[in-house]
Amino acid sequence: MDRVGIIGIAQTKYARYNPASHAELAYEVTVRALEDAGLTIEDIDNTVTVCNDFWDGRTISCMTITEATGSHRVPTTNVEGDGTYGALMGLMHLLSGIHEIALVVAQSKVSEGIPSVITNAMFDPVYERVLGLDAINSAALQMRSYMSKYGISEEQCARVSVKNHKNAKANPYAHLPMDITVDDVLKSRVLADPIKLLDTSPISDGACAIIMARERTAKKRHARPIWIRGVGHCTDLYHLGDRDLTEAPALALAAKKAYKMAGIHNPLKQIDVAEVYDAFSYMELMWIESLGFCEPGHAGEIVDSGMTEMNGALPVNPSGGVLAAHAVQVAGLARIAEVVLQLRGEAASRQVEGARVGLAHGIEGACGQGHCVFILEK
């Protein structure tokens, strides 16, 4: 793979309600990402937006932000999925050799709609939708099957939530920085057992933009490009009943591909920081297993040992992760942005010392049916 470098990033602060419109959010991060990269809009020769018609409540939702992202000036497309998929599309534009500098923008106003109604529409209209399935109770089915297969405890899941909300305190963009205890999580309101309120991610509005460039341009235009060294994406079966919900084989395969590209054969040793899509506390445990940071079923012990804490061998979600800010569609792109900050050494008080290689992860669909993995390097 040719080298492509990320040379600009920007995020809004995530919040329960941001009064700005979609276009206003998108324009803010576009302009700030350009500033970060030291570019003007004239330098951008293609764009990718990441809008979803359900979350945005309109057909052709990408139309809203066409002018705000400068997409009307250059070849553009809209990926409907997590922000990591948008970044992948931008990467392809550059690897084709046709384009030089790509801008990827995701914005989300989850507060406009009703997440349960919107995520209910992910399920089969004939079979599963009538059961009232949504993101929360489907995740509960997965969490229970994962816990019962491996003997993972609710406390171990809660520990992820405690860690990530604490990490968020050092992240100025995070929506929910909090000091909470395992007990607080266990005692929080049960939504769909075993999922409790503090096991879930919040409803957040916000936006994120990244700018990437082909190697020569990236080096010329930026002092510290962060290189994309590997990428992989993969999708599991659709119906929940068809899948073994205790595992994420699609993530394992996506990671395998990304690792191979990046020359990673021992992820725990070679990766310094990981930002994974923890929409629910248990997901971080499942994902670090499938990413090969530990054996299946052992993530609980890993968390107990403190290995994924800020001072551990593999800090996971120093930003606070999705548990601390969940602007859907944006969340995966925000994982990339955080890893870029970490590798640049610009993560301030949440800096993972000496981070050289980082992993960013996004998911798509219910219970992590689809996954996209990026490996970035300084």
Partner: protein, 167 residues
């Protein structure tokens, strides 16, 4: 035999789930709607570089890619650029009810603006409408901050138009 026939019968499942949204107007539309509601005034926003005036106001000038911050009033009169009379009904996605027809969608360039707006006309007979006609906004007396309510419709300025055509 009968069993097989039954097996090949294809069913469909009705889904009429409500999907409510609470669209946020954002800063620019909010200002626009507040002016309409409180002052019966239509405002646009002006680009500091090319001086184009956009109505409804929006954050970015599409040509200059600059953030626009100067709000300016525009006239409640304008020129009809194009129109179309819609005669088929469809579901009004805001209310979920069938759309009332016929209605005339009017594309209007307000005096003082460099972009167009869409609203409706108080005329649904195509023989009485021509592109280029002058139109004026008719405001509601009971304004709520809703563009399609606070301006009830645009009215064709007939007399002025006739005067123009018969010198």
């Amino acid at each position: 035999m009968e069993e097989r026939k039954e097996a090949s019968e294809a069913l469909s499942i009705k889904c009429v789930a409500d999907m409510p949204y609470n669209y946020h107007a954002g800063f620019y539309y909010s200002r626009f709607l507040k002016e309409l509601r409180d002052n019966k005034r239509i405002i646009g926003v002006k680009c500091s570089k090319c001086h184009k005036v956009y109505v409804p106001p929006r954050i970015v000038c599409r040509d200059c890619f600059l953030k626009m911050e100067e709000f300016v009033p525009v006239s409640d009169t304008g020129t009809l650029l194009a129109f179309t009379i819609t005669n088929f009904s469809y579901i009004d996605t805001t209310t979920g009810e069938p759309k009332r027809i016929p209605f005339t969608a009017a594309f209007i360039r307000l005096d003082g603006a460099d972009s167009n707006i869409v609203h409706c006309l108080d005329e649904t007979d195509e023989r009485n409408i021509r592109a280029g006609m002058r139109v004026r906004a008719v405001f509601s007396n009971n304004r709520t901050g809703d563009y399609f309510h606070d301006i009830e419709y645009f009215s064709i300025m007939r007399r002025q138009n006739e005067e123009r055509q018969s010198p």
